[in-house]
Symmetry: C2
Subunit: 148 residues, 2 copies
DNA sequence: TTATGTGCAAACTCTTTGCATTACC
DNA sequence: GGTAATGCAAAGAGTTTGCACATAA
């Protein structure tokens, strides 16, 4: 599938969702979704605002915040917070994953490990804790920075 | 070992560390350490400030922030951040553990699983990522809230 | 004695909110 | 036409910083 079609699927999902909730859609929401779709990295609200302004110069930062809250509540995007830095957002591409963060260059790497998922489920079960979601961040030095 | 002696060990550790860095110690730092020692939960800077004011009414919030940064840098305390809430601190009692957070009552439970630690190490190794530390938070519903 | 730590207040950063206006359905 | 979303600016919350003073070494 080409990227344009893929983006349209996300936008369609957004429209359906908005309708389901009895709300109104807006160009701004779609533009923000598009920015997240095109981004290869995790973006802060400020970064998203900068990028979306290229599509729509008059969009306000408050709209970005409001839209991100909405999209996160509806699970169309995920966020990750790291130390004191502000939250970073990524499009929810349907595949759960965890993160490694390089403490030297700040790069965020993604990974997924099935056994890890199972193990967490087992740990929660043993504690009679109903596991809904989790966030695992491995902090360290990425391969590139190690070889410097 | 009784609690008083145990606390003194932490204070001794602080003094040694401060000396090693060529810095000066202060009553305030020891008081903050004591508050963390006595706390059974994870505390925000604001909460720590409230508690330490009972020992020293004139201590400023800025001192709490500065001290926490210092103690965290020196690994005498750990912090954990959860959603939009402000960072919470706990004394580093020498035993690494991870956290479960109840999304209903906000309670933080601690756990430790050896296999989980090993697995993370293996995952990092496979990615040639030099693992230094990690943060795993399981979000869900604690046993108490489930039975409500 | 002298550099570090403190307390206070101001400054800063990030995020949220109130309100008049716009635009979707 | 009615209601939700937006843009702007102001307000809030949390944290950091500058500076004069206090204090440990």
């Amino acid at each position: 599938m080409n990227a344009k079609k893929e983006l349209e699927l996300y936008i369609e999902e957004l429209r359906t969702l908005v309708k389901k909730r009895g709300l109104k859609n807006s160009a701004q929401r779609e533009q923000i979704l598009q920015v997240l779709f095109l981004a290869k990295e995790h973006l802060t609200p400020e970064e998203i605002h900068q990028r979306v302004k290229k599509l729509n110069p008059s969009i306000g930062l408050a709209t970005v915040y409001r839209t991100l809250s909405f999209l996160e509540k509806e699970h169309l995007v995920n966020s990750i917070s790291f130390g004191n830095e502000s939250k970073k957002y990524e499009l929810n591409r349907g595949e759960h994953h965890d993160h490694m963060i390089c403490l030297e260059c700040g790069k965020i790497l993604e990974f997924y490990d099935e056994e890890l998922e199972r193990l967490q489920e087992a740990i929660a079960q043993k504690a009679s804790f109903k596991l809904l979601t989790h966030e695992l961040i491995l902090y360290g030095i990425c391969p590139k920075c190690q070889s410097k």
